[in-house]
Symmetry: C2
Subunit: 521 residues, 2 copies
């Protein structure tokens, strides 16, 4: 396995490998310390002379397309996850690659889901060497057990753009599942029988990959509008029966919580935004798809309505909760990177104020700024948080890697970053001395909201001042932690981990923030 | 002067310099022969750490912005021409550069117009070294007289994208006049008091330039929607009183002809499209902004209505004539690169089926195909055409360089390219033995339509066959030429030209198609 040649302790105090999958890594040097010097990746120049003048780039099937793209062993093949657990194409792509006889591929999904669990078999067979990308569920578990031949590399959505843009990852073949496309390769995610909303996660791949294949179950005559993916970047178009099952975009995490305690957290966060003066005309916010975050949107909506406040924009992952805000005129725009339910899909397809965004516009740390830092407040989840407000979002307290980063790291750059978490799960405290895996530096996390009180990062004296008159149960994080430990019978058991790295966690600037270690017996 | 070290005769039989402005040039090797091998230009990687977290990139004025961009002598500064003769910003930019003390700049406009004639003074003063870009009117005349310090380099809209994309031109500072923008630098051309429509001509500059300045007279809170130019590519935002006068977008060339003879040409072209079976359900066409082309649209509309035919898309340069087609349901879409009148501006701002395009999607020969070759028929103008259907669009028969190429070369790739021209102008025949400046190879020109008959390129036996039963006055081009020469008293006088090159004409693949020579006394 690569990445074992040596370790360094980074500025966050974490031991990280200095190499991963044959590439030298930069240990996280502290926030804002890593400043890029180089130039962007330079894709090959093509010529219209090589492409059909009538614009018809169709080939019979995915296997033919992969062959025409020159698929070879050792290549990097990418896919996107807008269908989340309902994707039909990524797995089929890798299986077609297996049929062609390719081996040791690097799979570079924007995220992987349980529906892609059979990629384990392809890894066992040597078709796929390793995965760089979020691994939700079984693939993460497989990685945790140290069975993957290479190191997992987890990046945020913005970090994935940065890695492609900066040439850290070279995608040989990108395969894009398109709910609508034309023979030229223009792709649209927001219309068609399998509409999934935005296709932003595939955008970097379409721009920078050597070869791009669009796969669709809804071919329309040129032009396919809107062309979220531009046919001018696409080599081949493949028609299939179905690209994905959009009903499976909705996962367990996109349901509103019914727990009275969690509803209370949600309400308190909305109150905090109001009392701190963040909720004011022209403000903006983002709420993740977790149950508390969704409930928060409902409470905030009521308060906005009561106070006659209108947002300038809200950021999605869009859900019916955000769509309601837009339709009621409580926000001017939804800026949407990923549709999380079918109400979101319908809205992005028909409402010109519901806009598809990409990780470039929203999250790329190596652009001339991005949208994330312009968001006034964001409500996110976490698996663990420590007393210095450092947080974990990828591993459980047993050390297993079961979640991706998503846009979470990028969102930490908002004006007020709030983690909405229960103080314990399954009688295991969530506030700890040190997180199992550092995914977000505490300097960027402003509020930890639990059912036992709200902790505000002492660095945010401005926020503490603004909330001086508030009736919110603001408490030191250490106090909440101690109370939970009394209740749960002490701090959580340390996970049993080995000294073998199985994955690394990249920060938004491409440096290595932490290591995920193989779980012990 | 650069570009004088030697000449070669290219595959079109034209003598072209092997170097221009210090850069080695490739003589045109014949259609489809020049195949690119390299990689695209790689702009510098930036970091959000260098840009304000609140997204506010405003600076007080253009001069400050240029200074912050590190303007130095010898740099390349670019601008766009969506305001055509009503642009207020390009000249101000170069004048501000003069104030700063910069010298020997290369000005790289997407096109220049008479309103920018004072750039002559800046060239005389040494502030501007030379212009690469279309020079309409006085600047072209100045160039023709051999007064510019460097060679003019004329490119098509697609060729300009290709040159930037391929790294042939490195833009140091791009200045974008934006009818609407937000403090982050998102720019929209289709709304605001100075709305001009699309901003596609500035798109390549925004992506590839080292530094990008957005100048606006209509600042809106983030997000400015649609973001035709992405703020993630913009460094600074400057507010001014007025970016341009959109009423001056309408030039003399965007008025329908009143001449009965030219109207007859227009009607015959429409008839040709119908009789040849090109005008059928789902077809597409593009008409330039010339008087005959505009009249053609009117006639074709009547025929489409009569025959119950609906186009899939029409390409603009949009005018009220195309907007009427869209509003009457005679086309599904307008794909618009440049709005030519205020009806076009209004439509692109409000009709979701009126879409802004860019030279990347429409014209870039070094992409994976482009829209131009998918257009079934295009009607264009020319200053001269020869008996082999080679055409000139940049110089007059006296050799003076007075026009740009625009999208003309790119449009030649359509399924049926029609030049609509009067057979003579000012008693000077337009059909000649050899064009003064070769701008488009005859192999790509299918029809020359004059008031004295329609000549079809003998290569297009399919078209000749399709029109066998037609009543159109189809005649050999030589016959029309002979008739015109009898009428005008012989072929046109040869222009008096020197051996000094003043400009080169690039083909869409970046090779040199022809040379413009200094005019003699």
């Amino acid at each position: 396995m690569s990445g074992k040649t040596g370790f360094e302790v980074n500025a966050a105090g974490r031991k990280v490998p200095v190499e991963a999958n044959g590439k030298t890594q930069i240990p996280f040097p502290g926030l804002g310390k890593q400043l890029p010097q180089g130039r962007k990746a330079a894709p090959p120049v093509r010529s219209a002379a090589y492409y059909p003048a009538d614009g018809d780039k169709r080939v019979p099937d995915l296997k033919t397309a992969l062959e025409k793209c020159g698929l070879k062993s050792g290549m990097t093949v990418s896919s996107h996850h807008h269908f989340r657990n309902g994707d039909f194409i990524a797995l089929k792509t890798l299986q077609a690659a297996a049929e062609i006889g390719a081996r040791d591929l690097m799979w570079f999904p924007s995220a992987s889901f349980p529906c892609q669990a059979p990629v384990v078999d392809l890894m066992e067979q040597g078709v796929v060497h390793h995965i760089e990308g979020s691994m939700n569920g079984p693939l993460g578990d497989y990685c945790s057990q140290g069975k993957m031949k290479g190191l997992g590399v987890l990046r945020s959505h913005g970090g994935r753009w940065q890695a492609i843009q900066d040439g850290e990852i070279h995608v040989d073949i990108a395969v894009i599942a398109a709910p609508t496309a034309d023979p030229f390769g223009n792709c649209d995610g927001s219309h068609g029988p399998s509409a999934c909303g935005s296709l932003g996660f595939a955008l970097a791949d379409s721009i920078y990959a050597d070869h791009v294949i669009a796969v669709t179950d809804n071919l329309v005559p040129f032009p396919c509008v809107p062309w979220q993916i531009q046919g001018n970047n696409v080599d081949y178009v493949v028609e299939v029966d179905q690209v994905g099952d959009p009903s499976k975009i909705v996962s367990g995490t996109t349901q509103i919580t019914r727990s009275p305690e969690r509803l209370r957290i949600a309400k308190q966060i909305a109150t905090l935004l109001r009392d701190a003066g963040i909720m004011k005309d022209g403000f903006s916010f983002q709420a993740g798809a977790g149950g508390i975050a969704l409930a928060f949107v409902g409470y905030l909506k009521e308060m906005m309505r009561q106070d006659g406040v209108r947002a300038r924009f809200v950021r999605g992952g869009s859900t019916s909760y955000l769509v309601d805000l837009l339709n009621e005129g409580l926000t001017d725009y939804i800026l949407d990177g990923q549709t999380f339910d079918l109400a979101g899909v319908a809205s992005i397809g028909e409402n010109p104020r519901h806009l598809a965004t990409s990780p470039f516009t929203s999250y790329n740390h190596h652009g001339k700024g991005n949208f994330a830092s312009m968001v006034d407040a964001v409500v996110l989840g976490a698996t663990e948080v420590d007393v210095n407000f450092n947080a974990n979002v990828v591993t459980h307290s047993d050390g297993r890697l079961l979640h991706g980063i998503g846009g979470w790291q990028n969102c930490l750059h908002s004006g007020c970053t709030i983690l909405a978490i229960p103080s314990f799960r399954d009688r295991i405290p969530v506030i700890v001395d040190q997180v199992t895996t550092l995914t977000g530096p505490g300097e960027l996390i402003d509020v930890v909201a639990t059912e036992r009180g709200i902790a505000i990062n002492p660095r945010r004296t401005d926020l503490l001042d603004a909330l001086k008159g508030s009736k919110l149960p603001i408490r030191p994080i250490e106090e909440i932690k101690a109370e939970v430990e009394r209740f749960c019978g002490g701090p959580p058991q340390k996970p049993v981990l080995t000294d073998d790295p199985v994955a690394i966690i990249k920060w938004v600037d491409g440096t290595v923030l932490d290591t995920v270690w193989k779980v012990g017996k």
